[in-house]
Structure formats: structure tokens, C-alpha cells
């Protein structure tokens, strides 16, 4: 039973993905495009060559950071929807350090990454303080702060750190940019993301503090009665999750985008939440999910270019993956479904 549960939680996303693609193909066929050509170009775009794999991994990097951010916070029972704002604040501070401090190279990179993480953590801490000391709903606060951060980034790229005729900041100096891996688009930011994922995994499941943090997330009252400093854990989860997102913002800036510009990081926060939940709040599964979505996005660009199918079809497929997976995972937890499964296995046993 235990194993069949694990199998199911693995199968559901797979089936959901297939279902989403079937619907996507029907839509494409109705539009007059050949779905097989479309799917082929989707695959080629995402994984067709080493370079494309590199691009996919590069695109997945920021998503991994924001989904780990969500994953960490949710494990402590904190609905941090502010991954995007924290990501942006991290990248803003990073941009400031990279372009204004006059330092370049590795020291600058380190400073940038730390600065970004600190900025993300502090930005997130605002929501944390309001939750813990003013009893505020963190979802609303973090969403509002996302808007504030986005607008603040606007000030930075249109005014304060503007470079040239377009509202965008100066580019990160070449020496401060993260190095590419094997000459591909993917940079060491991806390695950092993986490392953070492993760290989060280790922390949550192999340390005493991580254990206590999860306990707080599952039952705050009981955690308090059992002597855990609940407020401290909640604040910590805000800070750490914000720092992860902020670090992601820095890494994205130093690794891929090099400058802040309108649309930087747009939607990554919510994407991260969805991916963390599809990954069932398991840090490592979350990474896989993020890579999958990145592949879908990169591939869909090629698909659109090759077949003229609008990119919104790929958006719909992505949304359907989420719609089906979440519903599917809920469904298999229903007692009725469990009983059904139970009967199935029973019958198989009888047959054997």
C-alpha cells in the first residue's frame, strides 16, 4: 500500500502531462497545424541539441530558485506568494553592487549573490513581521509587496541606474558575469540552484531544526506547546525563502539577463508556487518539475516559430498540466479513490 501510494504520486503528474498534451494536440489539429510536427519541434526546441538543453536548463534556473522558495516557506506553513518580489529585490541589489561598486570578478560575484540573498530575505521579512506581530494574512501582503517591488525595479531601470535610451540598467560587467557551462547558455547559476535544492532537502529532512520547522508547518499550536519557538521559525522561513528567491534574482541577473529591464522576472513567483506544489513540496521533485516547465517553455518557442501555433497554446498546455496534476493528486487522496485502489489490488491478489 505504501509503495503503491508512492507510485501513484509519481504516476499522476505523468498522466496529467499526457492528458494536457492530448488536449493541446486536439487544439492544434483544429487550428490546422499538424500536432506531430508541433510536438516534434517542441521536443527539438527543448532537448534537440546540446545547445537547446543548455537553454532549457538556463531557463529552468530562476524557476528552481522561486519554487524552492515556495517549497521552503510552505513546509513551515507560510503561504509566501511573494517569491517574485523577493526575486526582484535580490536582483536590484545585485545590480546595484555589480554596476556601482566598482568591484569586478569573483569578489563582486560573491558580494552580489550574498547581497541579493540578504535583500530578498529582508524584503520577505517585512511580510513575516506583519504576519507574526500584526496577524496579517501573508498571501495578501506578499502579493502587494510584489507590485511594490516591480514598480521599484521600474524606478531603478528608468531612473536611478538607467543606461542609455531604453529604460534598462547598465549591464553587469563581463568579469562579474557567471561563467557558462561547456559554452552553453546554462551557467554556474544552475549549479548554485541545484546546490540550494540539495541543501534545502538536507535541512528539511536530515536536521533537527528542519524537523521542527516542518512540525511548526503542520500544527503550529502543538509545536508551540512542545516548546518550539514558533514565531522564530515563521520569521526564519520568511527570511530563508526570501533569501533563496533573492539569490535566484542575483543569479539570473549575473548569469542570463545581465541587466534589469521591463518584464524581468515577471511571473516567476507564481510559477514557483505552482511547481513546488506539483512537486508536492519535495525540494528535489520540485527541481525536476521546474526543469520540465522550462523545457515546455523553451520548446514552445520553437514550436510557435516552426508551426505558427500561437504560444498561448503552449500556455494552455502548461496550465492544463497544473490543472490536471493538482486535481489528480487531490483525487488519489480521496477515501473513495483509495478504496477503489484497494479493491483493485485485492482483486489482483485474488487473481494471483
Amino acid at each position: 500500500m505504501k509503495n503503491s501510494g508512492k507510485l501513484v504520486s509519481f504516476l499522476v503528474p505523468i498522466i496529467s502531462i499526457l492528458l494536457a498534451f492530448v488536449i493541446g494536440c486536439i487544439i492544434m489539429a483544429v487550428l490546422g497545424a499538424n500536432p506531430f510536427v508541433a510536438l516534434e519541434s517542441l521536443w527539438i526546441g527543448a532537448f534537440g541539441s546540446l545547445r537547446n538543453v543548455g537553454t532549457t536548463l538556463a531557463r529552468s534556473t530562476p524557476l528552481i530558485f522561486t519554487s524552492l522558495c515556495a517549497c521552503f516557506a510552505y513546509r513551515c506553513g507560510v503561504f509566501n506568494l511573494g517569491g517574485e518580489g523577493q526575486f526582484l529585490m535580490g536582483s536590484i541589489v545585485c545590480c546595484y553592487i555589480a554596476t556601482q561598486s566598482g568591484i569586478e570578478g569573483l569578489p563582486a560575484i560573491l558580494l552580489c549573490l550574498v547581497g541579493g540573498a540578504v535583500a530578498g530575505g529582508l524584503w520577505s521579512l517585512i511580510s513575516g513581521l506583519l504576519k507574526v506581530y500584526r496577524g496579517q494574512n501573508e498571501m495578501i501582503i506578499t502579493i502587494m509587496l510584489n507590485y511594490v517591488a516591480t514598480l521599484f525595479m521600474g524606478v531603478v531601470y528608468t531612473d536611478w541606474l538607467r543606461d542609455g535610451s531604453v529604460p534598462q540598467t547598465q549591464a553587469v560587467p563581463e568579469a562579474t558575469q557567471l561563467s557558462r557551462l561547456f559554452g552553453l547558455r546554462v551557467t554556474s547559476a544552475f549549479v548554485i540552484a541545484l546546490a540550494v535544492g540539495l541543501l534545502v532537502y538536507y535541512f528539511l529532512f536530515y536536521t533537527s531544526k528542519g524537523f521542527q520547522l516542518r512540525a511548526v508547518g503542520l500544527n503550529m499550536t502543538a509545536a508551540e506547546f512542545n516548546g518550539f519557538a514558533v514565531k522564530k521559525y515563521i520569521l526564519m522561513s520568511f527570511i530563508v525563502s526570501g533569501a533563496i528567491a533573492g539569490l535566484g534574482g542575483s543569479a539570473e541577473l549575473l548569469g542570463t539577463q545581465f541587466r534589469l529591464i521591463n518584464g524581468f522576472g515577471n511571473g516567476y513567483g507564481f510559477d514557483g508556487v505552482a511547481m513546488a506544489l506539483i512537486g508536492q513540496l519535495h525540494p528535489l521533485a520540485t527541481i525536476v518539475v521546474a526543469i520540465f516547465f522550462a523545457a515546455l517553455r523553451v520548446g514552445s518557442t520553437t514550436m510557435q516559430a516552426a508551426t505558427g501555433v500561437p504560444t498561448s497554446v503552449s500556455d494552455i498546455i502548461q496550465a492544463l498540466v497544473i490543472v490536471f496534476t493538482v486535481a489528480g493528486l487531490a483525487m488519489v487522496k480521496l477515501p473513495g479513490f483509495k478504496a477503489f485502489l484497494g479493491r483493485l489490488t485485492e482483486r489482483r491478489k485474488e487473481a494471483a
Binding site: L31, V148, L151, P310, Q318, V326, L329, K333
Partner: protein
Amino acid sequence: MEFVMNIILSSVRMATPLIFLALAELYSQRAGLVHIGLEGLASIGSLVGFLVSLITGSPMLGVLAGAAVGILVNMIFAYATVTLCAEQIVYGMAINIFAPALAAFIYRVYFGAGSELVQVGLMNTLSSSLGITSDNFLVRLLLDQTPMVYLAYGLVIFTVIYFNRTKSGLNYKAVGEYPKAAATLGINVIGVKYAACVICGALAGIGGAYLTTCYANTYVDGNVAGRGFIALAAVIFGRWSGAGVLLACLFFGFCDALQIRLQVGSFGVPYQFFQMIPYIATVVVLAGIGMKKAGPKSSGKPYLKEER
């Protein structure tokens, strides 16, 4: 004085779509369903409202179609969260990703690429239907509004009465507070939750359709522009009551109106700072009033029939 009156008019204008969306959220949360997917519902409502009013030439039909499609899409949410007991927050998010993509897709398929700017006729205001033209502030405030504005305020009054005076409203609230208790008293919990989703979908769809049938005469992707989230804040801010929600929406409308006017009056401050006003105001006000009364107790929690 002129300035103040203009701001009031403008606040009312900006608050109206928020009222629809916030009421949608209110009805959802009162039945224990936290719905963060209003943004998505509104965006599809906005598109369908636009298309139908374009095709039929009747903005009223557009609004109805917006409501219908809102309900339709929200049935996905209903099935997943009520019947399958999926996590509501995630599902709201899924709707937020799915519905706008669908809207963009329909628009593209309908108009093809590179079409001209399509504009529709907007709903007439009462004063223009009556043929009244006046510069008088009160006339403008009270009469120079589309039927949808009266509908919005009518719905607020209805909501207040419904939840405070009627038996059905009391039962409805019980579902959001303690569904199991409601069930033991013979209240059809699942039914109420589905009804809530119908109401929520309809109101959110109307809120979206309002944007293209009464406000702007064009459709652009992303025209809901965060109103769904502001509405969510308005419900919390308004303490889950009809009147409170109305005040919250007017407050947000006011912040937005003020922001625009301040920008036009420009003080050499980067415009983004003005645009932050509504959001920062939300955070500051929420932080200021603290959290004495929380929302419906069962909000966000799934209701499994045979679970303890």
C-alpha cells in the same frame, strides 16, 4: 473643490470593477473557498464580454456572456476543490494561469494576426439614456453611470441583507464556518459550495466584462491588471462583510484615482512611486488595523464528507 469632485467621480469609476470582484471573493470565502484565481476569471470574462458585445452590439449581452463564461471556468475550480478536495490556493493559481491563456488564445483565433484595433460601443449611462447633460457634480455622480454601477451597489445592499437577515444567508455562512456542523443540520454543504462557485464565477466574469463593456472600449491581454488580487485584499480589509468590502473597494478606487491625479500634477518624482500608492496603502492599512476577526473558519480547508 473641482479637484476633489473629480477624484470622487474617478474613485467611483475605478471602484466598480473591484466591487464585483470583491463580492465574488466574498461569496466564495463565505462558503469556505479561498479563491485567488479571480484575476483569471475576470480576464476570460473580459474577453468574452468584449466579443459578445462586439458581435451582438449589445453590451448587456456581453456582460451576461461574461458571467456565463465566468461560471463555466469556475466550475473547473468547483469540481477540483469541492468534489476532489484539491488545495484551493493552488487551484486558484492554476485558474490564473489557464484562463488568461485561454482568453489570449481565443482572441488570436477569432481575429487572426495583425488585425486592426477593434473597438466596441460601451454601455450607455443612465443620464445619456435619459438625455440629461449636466455639469452638476451630483448629477454626474448619481446619474452619469452605467446600469452596472447601480447593479454593483445594489448587490452590496443585497449581500448585506442576505448575510444578516435571511435564513439562507445564515446557512450559507455556516458552511464557511463549520461545514460538518452545517451538514448535520441538513444543510447541503456541497450544494452551497457549488452555488458559491456559480455566484463567484458570475460576479468575477461580470467584473471582467465590465472592463470591456463599460470602461475601456478595447480588449488587451492583461487588462485586469491585478484587480483580482486587490479584490482579495478588499475582502480581508472589509472584514468579510458586504459593507466593509464596499468601503475597501472605494478606498482602493480612491488610491488609484489619487495616484493618477498626482502623476498628472507631477512633482518630478518617478511615476512608479505614485503607482505604488494603492499597494502600499493596503499593506499599511492592514497592518494598522491588525487582525482581530479572522475570516470564515473553514476557509481554505477541503470538506471531505466522511472524514472527522
